[in-house]
Symmetry: C2
Subunit: 125 residues, 2 copies
């Protein structure tokens, strides 16, 4: 998220991973891995070669926290069975209400855009 914010503030050029890592005191290798992942999903664009780096071309309003979370964390599941198999599903009597709670969280994450996170002091209603 920090990196995306940094990129959004330097849209005019390709920013090398090293620059961002140095700025926040993060491990370059680790940050690189995540940015690569975001590039795969076309959240950011990558440019190889000398003076290469990453660049954010998309509109912050079109990117939600949910989207980023889905890519970097594999989703926002509060319970395992949201992701797949659950051994006790047949006898589980709280599955449905849990699922509804999950959906409310997802809704919140979907409606919160990076624009909300980066530019406003207040997060969207």
């Amino acid at each position: 998220m920090l990196a995306l914010q940094y990129l959004s503030r330097h849209r005019d050029r390709s920013v090398p991973v090293k620059e961002i890592a140095d700025c926040y005191g993060l491990s370059m290798e680790f940050l690189a891995k995540t940015l690569r992942l975001l590039a795969h999903h076309h959240i950011i664009d990558s440019q190889q070669g000398l003076h290469g780096g990453y660049r954010l071309t998309r509109d912050l309003q079109d990117l939600s926290v949910a989207t980023i979370l889905e890519i970097t964390e594999g989703g926002s599941a509060i319970i395992e069975c949201e992701n797949g198999y659950c051994a006790i599903a047949p006898v589980c009597t709280i599955r449905e209400p849990m699922h509804q709670l999950q959906q409310k969280i997802d809704q919140l994450l979907r409606q919160t855009t990076l624009q909300d996170m980066f530019n406003n002091s207040a997060v969207a209603e």
Copy 2:
């Protein structure tokens, strides 16, 4: 949560851990650990001795998902710095919006009671 629901449906007596574990096919030892924890925090009452067990005496409307999560999972932090120390806090420019997002999630978890989870098919607005 399943165990709490079970207890809420058998308020008239002390229910042994074994009974609940068998009902859902859970490990007794593991479930016991969590119920003990809930008892410590006075969510449920424990009764030792023959015919002992756990009992729910509190009103489901007075118990929120947030409360249970706090006890069993140690909270609902979506980011580490909600819990304590963060190395880059001084230069972190997304801390505040992250915190606001966290608060919205907490609000949702606080306002969702076990009553909502167990008795209604729909979770509270």
